[in-house]
């Protein structure tokens, strides 16, 4: 057993020596390989962490949102729908929400404007998300002027900024007094944007939704489970420009690695001949080459993974920002909670380390079962 381990150690020594012979080439290969793993692992870690983060953040979102559909479009809900719903069993709370969008031409950004009762804002006060503060350069005490539906300019005083920890859900929020909201957008007292129902027992949600559609035929309930499922499939493998872009580079690398690993140069072939002539078995030559593959791919895997880990969780996935940001002007700055999906990690491992290692061994096997007498020539 110890002999066996010692042998492997000698093989590793040997293969490192021969790899160092072409230092630039080996290091180049290692770094390209590492880059690929880094990109793949970054996408993997990021999308997984983002999904679990989203699901965790939205765990408390309303159990049921009721929209009203008129002529195929969602429209404001009359306040008396709350009365029409009446007392449904299992519904612990029901209220109307007032929200919408405001396009700010000054910075070409879309804000999400929401009326908030609980903040007890005066009609001239607003609370804004960090993202708006950053983009417009606003801090507490500053004034933000919004244009009303009649074209009048309303000035609001920023009374508070939302906690920066919550940016992932609140970056573009603009909270104001419900009265102010109605005046700004010209919305009648009797209307809400949508209704929100709280349900205590999750098993009743489906039944309540059915009752709702019977009570209010022009309504459309959206369940929390649907919201969560939407975010569970965020950046799923099926889509992603990033993945498609990556695919190109991965393929290029596969060709490169295949060429490097599988095409034995005359030099390497000769080397195998020498090893066999001095008494190495075919299996031993292969084990030596196996270590070459393992060293390169394992190092690349570990370095790439670690770099991706730091990139995603400690530098806020800075490289992905341009892609995620797209055309948005407001982009939340957030720190993802480290989370790793073991299965994904194992998949990445098997799809990178194994093929490369195999690609190094197979051609050696073909060469080393032939007679080694070519070294004599």
């Amino acid at each position: 057993m110890i002999t066996l381990l010692r042998k492997q150690r000698y093989f590793i020594d040997y293969t490192l020596g021969t790899m160092m012979r072409h230092k630039g080439k080996s290091l180049g290969l290692l770094s390209v390989y590492t880059m690929i793993i880094f990109m793949l692992a970054s996408v993997m870690l990021f999308s997984h962490a983002m999904r679990s983060e989203a699901v965790a953040l939205l765990a408390d979102s309303p159990e049921i949102v009721v929209q009203r559909i008129q002529a195929g479009r969602s429209v404001m809900v009359p306040a008396d729908y709350l009365q029409r719903i009446g007392k449904l069993r299992g519904v612990t709370e029901k209220r109307g929400r007032l929200w919408g969008y405001y396009y700010d031409p000054a910075v070409k950004a879309n804000y999400t404007v929401m009326a908030s009762e609980q903040d007890q804002l005066t009609i001239n006060d607003i609370v804004i998300g960090e993202g708006i503060g950053r983009t417009r350069g606003l801090s507490v005490g500053d004034y933000l002027t919004l244009r009303s539906h009649e074209g009048k300019a309303f000035s609001f005083r920023v009374s508070r900024l939302l906690e920066s920890e919550s940016e992932l859900i609140s970056s573009d929020l603009l909270l104001m007094n419900p009265q102010g909201y109605r005046q700004l957008f010209g919305i009648d007292e009797s209307l809400y944007t949508d209704l929100v129902l709280s349900v205590r027992n999750p098993r009743e949600i489906q039944k309540i939704a059915e009752k709702l559609t019977r009570l209010l035929p022009d309504s459309r309930p959206i369940l929390r489970s649907e919201i969560l499922r939407t975010y569970e499939s965020l950046f799923s493998w099926r889509q992603g420009v990033m993945l498609i872009l990556l695919l190109g580079s991965v393929l290029a690398f596969v060709i490169f690695a295949w060429d490097k690993a599988s095409g034995l140069s005359a030099e390497e072939r000769k080397e195998i001949g020498i090893l066999k002539a001095v008494g190495w078995e075919t299996g031993e030559v292969m084990r030596m080459k196996f270590w070459e593959g393992v060293i390169i791919s394992l190092m690349a895997f570990l370095i790439g993974y670690l770099a991706a880990y730091l990139h995603v969780f400690y530098t806020s996935a800075g490289l992905f920002e341009p892609v995620l940001k797209g055309w948005s002007v407001l982009y939340p700055s957030f720190q993802l909670t480290p989370s790793v999906d073991g299965l994904q990690l194992a998949t990445l491992f098997f799809f990178t380390v194994l093929p490369y290692t195999l690609a190094t061994i197979v051609p050696v096997w073909r060469t080393s079962i032939t007679d080694p007498d070519l070294v004599m020539r």
Partner: protein, 96 residues
């Protein structure tokens, strides 16, 4: 011998880093999300339904609230030139 020692040291360092990352994950997930208390409060107080991640257009900001009966309008599967559409699936409710 020297070379393999260097290699083993490197490998050990990397494996330690790997383990450290797993430990990091375990410890962080034990604590819950760092932004959890503030965010959870906001979400339930305001009844928030979506991440403020895709703010580029009205119909990408609240994908889970997308309009159901108006295909190709105000809809995340509408033809659009924003990258969001390639990052985000249509809401699950619409796919059934």
């Amino acid at each position: 011998m020297k070379r393999s020692n260097t290699f083993f040291v490197c490998l050990l360092l990397l494996l330690t880093g790997f383990m450290a990352s797993l430990v990091d994950v375990a410890s962080e997930s034990g604590q819950g999300l760092p932004q959890a208390p503030e965010s959870a409060e906001l979400v339930s107080r305001l009844g928030l339904t979506d991440l403020s991640l895709f703010t580029e257009a009205r119909y990408t900001r609240h994908p889970s609230q997308a309009d159901i009966h108006s295909a190709f309008q105000d809809h995340p599967v509408a033809l659009e030139h924003f990258p969001t559409g390639s990052l985000l699936q249509p809401p699950m409710g619409l796919l059934r």
